[in-house]
């Protein structure tokens, strides 16, 4: 199975099957990335599609000597920021409403029934993390990027990545402790 770098090299040469394979491999992960960032459900597909199209448009800028995932998430982050900017411009009240909705949201019946209150609390806490902290936590925890890869994707110093990740984890821990009245169920 060819890796992403090899596929991108073939995409640069104009091979259609490599492009299809690459997109099939990444569409779910990019969708999940935006989902975990708190993207609106009806826009997740569009955002993921935009990233894939941008990957193709910017294929000549990709350096095959470097990892593919940081490069792709660098594009995804720009698409995300663009989405947030456009949403603020088009619907100035939208972010506030979403924040209020998110703050007021209680764990759903299914989550409670399955004993997943902690998951619901965590999800809410992640959605309330500041923008860059949320992206870094999602990239490290869910997408498995190394600190250095995140620094490369976001074009920020390594120390900034570490600090923001530590801060994000600290906030999540506080949220979970508070939701349990001071105690956490251990796994």
């Amino acid at each position: 199975m060819p890796d992403d770098r090899e596929l991108m090299a073939r995409v640069k040469e104009g091979e259609q099957t490599a492009l299809e394979l690459l997109f099939a491999r990444w569409e779910g992960r990019v969708f999940a990335f935006f989902y975990r960032l708190g993207g609106p459900p009806d826009r997740l597909g569009d955002l993921a599609e935009e990233v894939l199209v941008s990957v193709y448009r910017q294929r000549h800028r990709y350096d095959p000597n470097r990892a593919f995932a940081p490069w792709l998430y660098g594009i995804a982050r720009l698409v995300w920021k663009d989405h947030l900017r456009r949403r603020r411009r088009e619907e100035p009240h939208c972010a506030l409403l979403e924040f209020a909705r998110s703050s007021a949201r209680e764990p759903g019946p299914a989550e409670v029934a399955e004993g997943r209150e902690e998951v619901a609390v965590l999800r809410q806490a992640i959605e309330q993390l500041p923008g860059e902290q949320r992206i870094i936590f999602v990239l490290r925890h869910f997408e498995g990027l190394a600190y250095e890869e995140i620094a490369e994707a976001l074009q920020v110093p390594l120390g900034t990545v570490k600090w923001r990740l530590h801060e994000a984890v600290r906030r999540l821990e506080i949220a979970l402790v508070e939701s349990k009245g001071g105690g956490i169920r251990t796994p």
Partner: protein, 282 residues
């Protein structure tokens, strides 16, 4: 061992801790009740995050992206289509005219007219050609593919022209004559002039390439080639004016040296720029 900070525990969880520290911290966690509780709490938080299930991706994302790309290939999208706005064109021409005027002025104060009379027609044609070259490279700087190389070439050519009054081609060739000795052996003189041409062009190419391009390693060769080509084009009028009264073999040696120097300097500069980029992003 002192109790590790929470930030260190996060690094351990994510495998971002040095191997030797990793073992020592895990040993400490087994021995220290307080740290063990912190560790367990942290693991619980991250384990809860792991339980967060993402719904299946909406169908057809890749297919829609492929369809858009296919459409763009047939009918290139406005974003990809090279368009030149009128104000960019006018701005580039104005910049080109200004740069060309300044370059001609610097050439004249360097004493190029002392080597022989130049007709107003030649000066006028050179000015027009130079305006077109400066303006054209400035326009290319608007294109994502050539942006880095075009900017670097403009800076490199600017440096070369600014240095010209202090270090003109004629003074370099005179120095080469002296260095080659009284015999003035043609082949030795050509070699010295060739090396002088390399030095003359490689220095500004290297500096501008290193300081401006910040290229990715994969595109370094391409960037260096474009930088060398743009630079050579931008300094070509100056070289032509300064070479017009030189012997043919010296002109050939000088131009060959400058071309080699432009390419080698650009390659070295872009390579250093890429290394700097890696160091600063790492």
């Amino acid at each position: 061992m002192r109790c590790p900070e929470n930030t260190v525990l996060v690094d351990v969880v994510y495998g971002e801790c040095a191997t030797e520290d990793h073992g020592r911290i895990l040993t400490h966690l087994e021995e220290c009740q307080k740290c063990h509780e912190r560790w367990t709490r942290l693991r619980a938080v991250l384990a809860a995050a792991d339980q967060w299930v993402v719904p299946s991706a909406s169908p057809g994302i890749a297919e829609r992206a492929l369809a858009r790309i296919a459409t763009e290939r047939v009918r290139r999208s406005p974003a990809d289509r090279p368009t030149i706005a009128l104000h960019h064109l006018i701005g580039s021409l104005l910049f080109g005219a200004g740069a060309a005027s300044l370059s001609l002025f610097l050439l004249f104060i360097s004493g190029v007219h002392d080597q022989g009379e130049m007709s107003p027609l030649i000066i006028g044609l050179t000015g027009i050609l130079w305006t077109a070259l400066y303006g054209g490279v400035t326009l290319l700087a608007l294109h994502p593919r050539y942006r880095r190389a075009a900017f670097a070439a403009l800076v490199g050519a600017g440096m070369t022209m600014l240095v010209t009054p202090l270090l003109s081609m004629s003074s370099v060739i005179e120095a080469s004559h002296r260095w080659a000795g009284p015999a003035h052996m043609s082949s030795l003189l050509d070699a010295v002039v060739f090396l002088a041409g390399i030095l003359y062009a490689s220095t500004p190419s290297f500096v501008s390439g290193a300081s401006i391009t910040r290229a990715a390693r994969a595109t370094a060769l391409e960037d260096a080639t474009w930088l060398a080509v743009f630079y050579a084009l931008l300094v070509a009028p100056s070289v032509c004016l300064q070479c017009q009264h030189l012997a043919l073999h010296l002109t050939v040696a000088w131009i060959a040296g400058m071309l080699a120097g432009a390419f080698l300097g650009s390659l070295g500069g872009v390579w250093v720029g890429a290394r700097l980029q890696m160091a600063t992003s790492g």
